[in-house]
Symmetry: none
Subunit: 424 residues, 2 copies
């Protein structure tokens, strides 16, 4: 479908805004307990009786969202496929029109991006664990699960001591506990074969680390440099304990997704306070400055950059965070916060405003879920007056129907007047 | 899907009617202005206050359509894909069950068909422009945009003077202004490779016409004969000005779509007053006599031929024409006209009657659009009593859901009792 779309693109001065309220979709509070065939009671927070039977969106007092939904095309979208719970990566890829089943992002790249590192076409990204080794046997694959703070210092030391090997730059992304990511930045662009190196992690204690074997001639240099890297780290940490070794996994190159500019002719700006979302946005060629601030400040930032871009991805994180915590009441509050800021977005008069999530995170499930995500597309040429507000149940009645997430971008482009007619 | 369907076909005496109201789908009148975030006012016709907030179908007084919709399976269909605005060719292909993304029709064939020429499997169709050439440089690619009437005479002269070259017949289709189409009818059926010849149009003035180069051995004869053709035309027009040359583009053969009879076992009759729709129908093996007449006369013609066919495609053009003009009130009237004639169709008691459009042409957009098209399928075995009338918003509630256009033919066949069980 992206190929067809590309052939139909035309330019105009229109602006498209995607407001992504992370993990927006939800499920009814408590209702799940009373209705559950198994009758199991979930231990989730929020004692307020007025929520019973309502989803987070239904429970929220969100007059701006509700009013806008009436004037918009509404529906629900499925990020990956029926029953499939997406991670944030596939969720956002789908929203932006990249089929998450087609465009798999390597584990190393995903980890690096998630830690806020930028991955370029010259890079190989790997996931690393601090581990404990004795007589060439891994005795602890996680080096005793050390504290994040302690390991941050170790990783900073690696960055200082091993910034480069044989002309390849090493860029470190400290992670949680024993985890970190490494970018090996080569002088030239790499093909995917350069990452065809196995994990060194034997996946169980009591074994030697696996030797790194290139599976393709183009991966020989990658394997050789990584061996040197592991040796240098081992030398550097030889007096440390328990973190005296590293295991490497998930060698991967830039996924070479077509950029937003290539795919849609759109200059795109991503405004997100969390590094992972910026990293994902950069993988598809969006500008994604290291922005930190409140949602209101995100909108201000969009306003300040309004003339320089065609597409704005503005990310609202907290709906997902409280969903993951199982905190129904706080997720409701966050929806209400976003609702209050909505007029500031509308004041910019984008031709197309899409409001949705990258996936559902029902507070009652304390995690991402497979449920279709409510969405509204506000633009001049919609039917409208089909739904009475913005919620999962209202969106079910909507004119968009239940669609794959990848359908949203073509619809946004069409509504922005950016697609020519197909055939005569 | 067509392969699966083909394996399930069974014959019976049932009749299927597709009433295609061209560009049927619409959008609310004026409401669009009040709702638009951008606030831009569209310059469309129709001052009637009672239309505000209603689509063309909602504004029409169409009691027969509304009553029938209650007794039918209703829904909306998407011709090509989300956000994609179809031309009439892809729109009709989809309706008839041919995936428009799979079955692309060559530009030359589409032009020829649009001008009412029949394209056979022995043919190569090309688009031609009258142009001005001086010292082998194209000085005007459109020969000064001459009048259609003037060029009609020139094209008639070509038909008379160059009816054949080396055993290949030349059939001319006069077009608008400088445009015309040519069918080269060879003595034998051609494979698609025979059309692998580049355009001679250099796409800009001040350049020489491009030499015709066959891209496949099977295209050598095509290129040679076309070179002779261009030479003959140049000789004939050498004293004319500014139209003293022709540029050729879009070499293409019959798209070799499976015929309606092959695909569905249906003897099909197309009744359409516009040449383009007859041409499209002929491409899929429908009989399409050169019929001209009112909608009532189209229905009379169908009645007169009722016993000789299994499938009837009856085309109602004016809904699209007034939509394209932005004339909301007249599009409403045309729907009301069709509504009045509906009982004459019902009196024939077809087993299946599908009423829909090939795409949407909202008057407020003055053109084709990507919006799903309302449809009703009237047949004995439907749920019914799901919708309260025939409109975009009513169809959203319908039992068909929002489906790709290519789903309509299998549904029609099933409802006509023409499909066996799949598996045991």
């Amino acid at each position: 479908m992206q190929t067809t779309i590309k052939g139909l693109l035309q330019k105009n001065g229109s602006k498209i805004v995607f407001l992504v309220m992370d993990g927006l979709g939800g499920l009814p509070y408590k209702g799940i307990i009373e209705r559950s065939a198994g009758g199991t009671e979930g231990p989730f927070a929020g004692p307020d009786g007025r929520f019973i039977g309502k989803t987070e969106l239904e429970a929220a007092h969100a007059p701006n969202l509700d009013k806008l939904a009436v004037l918009s095309a509404c529906g629900l979208h499925i990020p990956v496929g029926p029953g499939i719970t997406p991670g944030s990566g596939p969720g956002h890829l789908g929203l932006f029109g990249y089929d998450p089943l087609k465009w798999e992002i390597g584990r190393g790249v995903l980890e690096a991006v998630g830690l806020g590192l930028e991955v370029k076409k010259t890079d190989i990204a790997i996931r690393c664990n601090y581990a404990t080794i004795e007589n060439n046997v891994i005795t602890d694959r996680r080096a005793g699960r050390p504290s994040t703070a302690k390991m941050l210092k170790v990783t900073e030391r690696l960055q200082k001591e091993i910034p480069e090997i044989d002309g390849v730059k090493f860029i470190y992304g400290p992670g949680m506990e024993h985890r970190f990511a490494v970018i090996m930045r080569f002088p030239e662009a790499l093909s995917p074969e350069a990452a065809m190196v196995n994990d060194s992690d034997p996946q169980m204690e009591g074994k030697a680390p696996l030797p790194l074997i290139p599976k393709h001639p183009k991966a020989e240099r990658t394997a050789a440099i990584t061996r040197k890297f592991i040796g240098r780290v081992e030398e550097l940490l030889k007096d440390s304990h328990p973190e005296n070794y590293i295991l490497v996994r998930g060698f991967s190159t830039h996924p070479r997704l077509p950029s937003f500019l290539e795919a849609y002719g759109l200059r795109a700006l991503a405004i997100a306070s969390y590094p992972m979302y910026r990293g994902l946005a950069r993988l598809i060629g969006m500008e994604a400055p290291d922005f930190e601030g409140s949602f209101e400040e995100e909108i201000e930032y969009m306003k300040a950059n309004w003339n320089d871009y065609d597409f704005f991805f503005i990310h609202f994180k907290k709906t997902d965070s409280y969903g993951e915590d199982g905190n129904f009441a706080e997720k409701v509050k966050k929806i209400e916060e976003a609702d209050k800021a909505l007029p500031c977005i509308l004041a910019l008069k984008p031709e197309v405003l899409v409001i949705t999530g990258d996936h559902s995170t029902p507070a009652v499930m304390k995690g991402h879920s497979w449920h279709p995500v409510p969405a509204m597309l506000h633009a001049p040429y919609v039917l409208g007056e089909v739904t009475e507000g913005f919620s999962e149940r209202q969106c079910l009645k909507g004119e968009l129907g239940i669609i794959p997430s990848v359908a949203l971008m073509p619809l946004a482009l069409a509504n922005a007047g950016r697609l020519k007619k197909f055939g005569s």
